[in-house]
Symmetry: C2
Subunit: 117 residues, 2 copies
DNA sequence: TGCCCTAGATACCAGAAGGTTACTATTGTT
DNA sequence: AACAATAGTAACCTTCTGGTATCTAGGGCA
């Protein structure tokens, strides 16, 4: 998320992992990419209903920097950019699945309404 | 984390789950509780080396509100309070394990120093 | 009497994360 | 000539998260 590249970072792996997949939209983006193999910028924008272009771009850049997704630019007009999971990103899927199910179960228990996302 | 109890919350289970276990120290606290069965406030304070009393108390309250840990007060002097995982909290452990290992692997790949926490 | 212990509470503050709005380039279409 | 479509940028502002510092109760102990 943030990048304090001053000297050697000594941190807890759990914190590190959380920072890499935390953030308001990262989980959902990875999730959508799982189901769709490859998605264009606009498709993602429509999928993550409440995201703004600023946040989408920013989040995609962070995920790319972290090697969880890859970005393929087609030099065409109008522009076309495709996003897909990398192998490292795909490794996060079991974990995302687990969290989704757990979250859904908890929400049910609390009678919260599940916005199927 | 935050509680905006205005009307019915309609959210994505993934977001919901992230909010419940996100936060700077939640993962680590759950992790320590896993290894120790039950821990006192002061023990946790010493375990989570960089946490302040404010953040520890706040985080414990949130975890308790979310039913991930339980809090047992002994009415003694000096005070004694024990924290332990609930069943729901224990359900998070596989996920925490997964994240920890993934984080450790990634850190190794990036030659970062693992502060064993 | 004053200091230590435990398990916090409280007020105030800084910085990070995220939101809003407007703007960009380039080509095809009407 | 104006507009649509795509994939963004940039400046600015607000909110949220976490940090700092100080204070609490109530008994044991020197």
């Amino acid at each position: 998320m943030s990048k304090k590249n001053n000297s050697v970072e000594v941190i807890c792996p759990l914190d590190y992992a959380f920072r890499r997949i935390g953030g308001k939209y990262k989980g959902r983006i990875l999730w959508y990419l799982k189901s769709n193999e490859v998605m264009r910028y606009g498709e993602l924008k429509r999928a993550v209903t409440d995201i703004t272009t600023k946040m989408l771009t920013q989040t995609l850049r962070e995920l790319e920097e972290d090697a969880l997704i890859s970005r393929k630019v087609y030099h065409e007009l109008p522009p076309k950019v495709e996003y897909s999971l990398t192998d490292e990103g795909a490794e996060m899927l079991p974990f995302i699945d687990y969290l989704r199910h757990w979250g859904a179960k908890q929400m049910e228990k609390r009678e919260m309404v599940d916005l199927k996302c």
